[in-house]
C-alpha cells in the first residue's frame, strides 16, 4: 500500500490532464443525460425533441473531435493513466462514428417500422447516444479493461436497439439471437482476457513488459488467449466464424438499426483491432502468433463466405448483411498490411463503406415504406416508378461493388495499393492471396449487387402494388449520400487526405 501512494497522485494528475483531451466524450456523457432528461420531459412528441437534441449534440461532438484532430496532429497521447490512447487515426474513426451516428439518428423516424413503434423513439436516441460514447471509448481503449468495458457498453446498447420493436416477432427473435450470441462471445472474450492477463501480468496493452512476459509464456496458451480475445472483437466485426448472427439480426432488426449495426460497431471494432495489434506489430521480435496469417486467412474466408453466400439471397437486407460480411473481409486486408498507409486505406475504406451502406439501407427502408418491398421480387419494375431513388441505389451499389466512378472504387484502389506496397517489401504470399481473393470476390459481389438494378429496371412489374406516401426527406438524404459517393469517386483526395 505505501508504494501505491506516489502512484495515486500521479494517477490523479493523469486524470485531470486527460480530461482536456476527453472533451468529445464528456460532451457525449452530458448529451446522454440531456437526451434522457429531454425524453422524460417531452413525453408526448414521440422523441422529436430528443432527436433534434441528439443531432445537435452529435454535431457538437464532431466539432469537438475536429478540435482534437487539429490539436493532436501526429502525436500519440495516452490518457487516464494509459487507459486510453489517442492519435490521428483514432480521432478520424471517432469522427466517422459521429458522422454516421448523426445520419442514423436522422434516419430513425424516417423508417415506417420504427416510426410506428408504440412507445416512440425517445429511448432509442438515449441508447444511441450512450452507445456512441461506448464506441468512442472502444476506439481509444488501450487496456483490456477498457476494451471489455466499451465492448459491453456497445453490446448492451445494440441488444436493446435490435429488440427495440417489441411488437415484432422478427425483432424479438433477432434480439434473442443477438443477445445470446453476443453474450457468449463476450464471455469467451472475457475468458481470453483473463488468460491474457495472467500470461502477461498486465492489463495495459502498451505496457513495456507485455511482450517480454508473453514471450516467456507457453505459446499455445498465448495463442489461445489472443484468439479468444480476437473472437470478441471479431464478433463486432462479423468476421468468419463469428458472423453467423449477422444475416438474421440484420434482417430481423428495424432497418435503421441494421444501418447502425452494419456501420458503427464495425468501424469501432476495426479501430480496436488495430489498437490491440499495435504492440505486437511494433515489437519486431514477436513471433508467437503470426497475426498476418491468422488475419489473412480470416479475411479470405470472410470475403468468400460473405460474398458467395450473398448470391442466394432474396431479401434485400439479408443480401446487404452478407455483403457487409464480405466488406469486413476486404477491410481486414487493409489491417493486415500493418502500415501507416494501410491504416489510412482502412479508414478511407470504412468511411466510404459506411456512406454507401447507410445509403443502401436507407433505400431499402424507402422501398419498404413506399411499396412494402422487402424482397427482390417486390422490386420488380420499381425503377420506372421511383427513378431518383433507383438511380441512387445503382450508384450506391456501384460503390459497394467497387466500380468506377464511385468512392468504393477509389477505396478499393487505395487498399490494393497499400497491400501491394507491403507485399513489395516482404513478399508475403498471404498478401497476394488476399489481393486475388479481393479481386475475385469483387466479381462475385457484382453478381448479387447487380440483381437489385436488375429487378428495379430490367424486370417488368407484374402487379400494381399498393402505393404508400413517399418520404421526401429520406430521399433527399439518399441523394446527398449518393452525391458524396460520386464526388469522392472523382475527387477522393477531398476525404482521403484527412485520413
Amino acid at each position: 500500500m505505501p508504494q501505491l501512494l506516489p502512484n495515486i497522485s500521479a494517477q490523479l494528475n493523469s486524470v485531470t490532464d486527460g480530461l482536456s483531451m476527453f472533451r468529445p466524450e464528456l460532451c457525449l456523457g452530458v448529451l446522454f443525460l440531456l437526451v434522457m432528461a429531454c425524453d422524460l420531459v417531452y413525453l408526448n412528441n414521440r422523441g422529436r425533441a430528443s432527436r433534434m437534441l441528439t443531432c445537435a449534440g452529435l454535431l457538437l461532438v464532431l466539432v469537438a473531435n475536429w478540435g482534437e484532430y487539429i490539436e493532436t496532429d501526429d502525436n500519440v497521447l495516452f490518457l487516464f493513466n494509459n487507459n486510453l490512447i489517442l492519435h490521428h487515426s483514432n480521432i478520424v474513426l471517432k469522427m466517422l462514428i459521429d458522422a454516421a451516428a448523426f445520419a442514423i439518428v436522422l434516419f430513425y423516424p424516417w423508417d415506417d417500422q420504427l416510426r410506428k413503434h408504440g412507445k416512440g423513439l425517445g429511448d432509442a436516441y438515449t441508447i444511441i447516444t450512450a452507445s456512441v460514447l461506448g464506441l468512442h471509448v472502444m476506439v481509444m481503449s488501450a487496456t483490456l479493461l477498457t476494451i471489455f468495458l466499451s465492448i459491453e457498453m456497445v453490446s448492451i446498447a445494440s441488444y436493446l436497439l435490435v429488440a427495440y420493436r417489441t411488437e415484432s416477432g422478427f425483432s424479438a427473435e433477432a434480439g434473442l439471437k443477438y443477445v445470446l450470441f453476443g453474450m457468449a462471445a463476450s464471455a469467451v472474450m472475457l475468458y481470453g482476457i483473463s488468460l491474457f492477463y495472467g500470461l502477461s501480468g498486465t492489463l495495459n496493452l502498451f505496457d513495456a513488459g507485455l511482450i517480454t512476459h508473453l514471450q516467456q509464456a507457453d505459446s499455445a496458451m498465448v495463442m489461445l488467449a489472443v484468439i479468444l480475445i480476437l473472437a470478441g472483437i471479431g464478433f463486432k466485426l462479423s468476421v468468419v466464424p463469428l458472423h453467423f448472427w449477422v444475416p438474421d439480426v440484420y434482417q430481423g432488426a428495424a432497418t435503421p438499426v441494421t444501418a447502425y449495426l452494419s456501420t458503427l460497431p464495425k468501424i469501432a471494432g476495426f479501430g480496436l483491432l488495430v489498437t490491440f495489434l499495435t504492440p505486437f506489430i511494433a515489437d519486431l521480435s514477436w513471433e508467437q502468433v503470426d497475426f498476418v496469417t491468422v488475419l489473412s486467412v480470416a479475411g479470405i474466408i470472410t470475403m468468400i463466405a460473405g460474398n458467395f453466400a450473398a448470391i442466394w439471397q432474396q431479401n434485400v437486407k439479408r443480401l446487404l448483411a452478407y455483403s457487409g460480411i464480405g466488406h469486413t473481409g476486404f477491410a481486414l486486408m487493409a489491417v493486415v498490411t500493418f502500415s501507416a498507409q494501410g491504416i489510412k486505406a482502412l479508414n478511407f475504406y470504412l468511411a466510404v463503406y459506411a456512406v454507401a451502406n447507410l445509403g443502401a439501407l436507407m433505400l431499402a427502408s424507402y422501398f419498404a415504406n413506399t411499396m412494402k418491398a422487402e424482397n427482390l421480387d417486390d422490386y420488380k419494375g420499381l425503377g420506372f416508378k421511383y427513378p431518383v431513388a433507383s438511380v441512387c441505389f445503382v450508384i450506391l451499389l456501384i460503390s459497394l461493388t467497387g466500380i468506377p466512378v464511385s468512392a468504393g472504387f477509389n477505396a478499393k484502389v487505395i487498399v490494393f495499393s497499400a497491400v501491394y506496397e507491403v507485399y513489395q517489401q516482404g513478399h508475403n504470399v498471404m498478401l497476394l492471396a488476399l489481393l486475388v481473393t479481393g479481386a475475385v470476390t469483387t466479381v462475385v459481389s457484382l453478381f448479387y449487387y447487380i440483381k437489385i438494378p436488375l429487378y428495379l429496371f430490367l424486370k417488368k412489374q407484374e402487379t400494381e402494388g399498393r402505393e404508400y406516401p413517399s418520404y421526401k426527406k429520406l430521399l433527399v438524404m439518399v441523394v446527398v449520400l449518393s452525391a458524396i459517393v460520386v464526388l469522392l469517386g472523382i475527387f477522393p483526395d477531398l476525404l482521403a487526405n484527412l485520413m
Binding site: 471489455f148 443477445v179 445470446l180 453474450m183
Partner: protein, 101 residues
C-alpha cells in the same frame, strides 16, 4: 494449499460446463445461466491472477467491472427473452428460427 493451478482448473471446468450448457440446453434462460458460468470462470481467473498484480490490482478491479456488466447484460437478455416468449410462446432457441436462409 490452494495454488493458482487449482483456481485455473476450477475456472476451466466452469468455462467448459458453461459452454456445454450453452450448446445443449433448450431453454434460453438456461443458456443465460451457461453464459454466466463462463463469465464467472473468467472472473475467477482474473481474481486469481490479480494476486500477482499487486501494484494496480488490475485483476480485482476488472472482476468488479465484469460482475456489474454481466448483471446488466443479463438483465437486458432476460427482457428480450421475455419479449420473445410473448411473441413465440416458447423460449427454446431451436424453435425460434423464423429468420434463416
Amino acid at each position: 494449499m490452494i495454488t493458482l493451478t487449482h483456481y485455473l482448473l476450477v475456472s476451466a471446468a466452469l468455462f467448459s460446463i458453461g459452454l456445454y450448457v450453452i450448446l445443449s440446453k433448450q431453454n434460453a434462460i438456461q443458456i443465460l445461466i451457461g453464459i454466466e458460468l463462463m463469465l464467472n470462470a473468467a472472473i475467477l481467473n482474473l481474481v486469481a491472477f490479480g494476486k500477482f498484480d499487486k501494484i494496480n490490482n488490475g485483476g480485482q478491479s476488472f472482476a468488479l467491472f465484469a460482475i456489474v456488466l454481466a448483471a446488466a447484460t443479463t438483465a437486458v437478455a432476460l427482457a428480450i427473452v421475455l419479449n420473445v416468449y410473448r411473441r413465440y410462446k416458447t423460449i427454446d432457441p431451436g424453435k425460434i428460427n423464423q429468420l434463416k436462409d
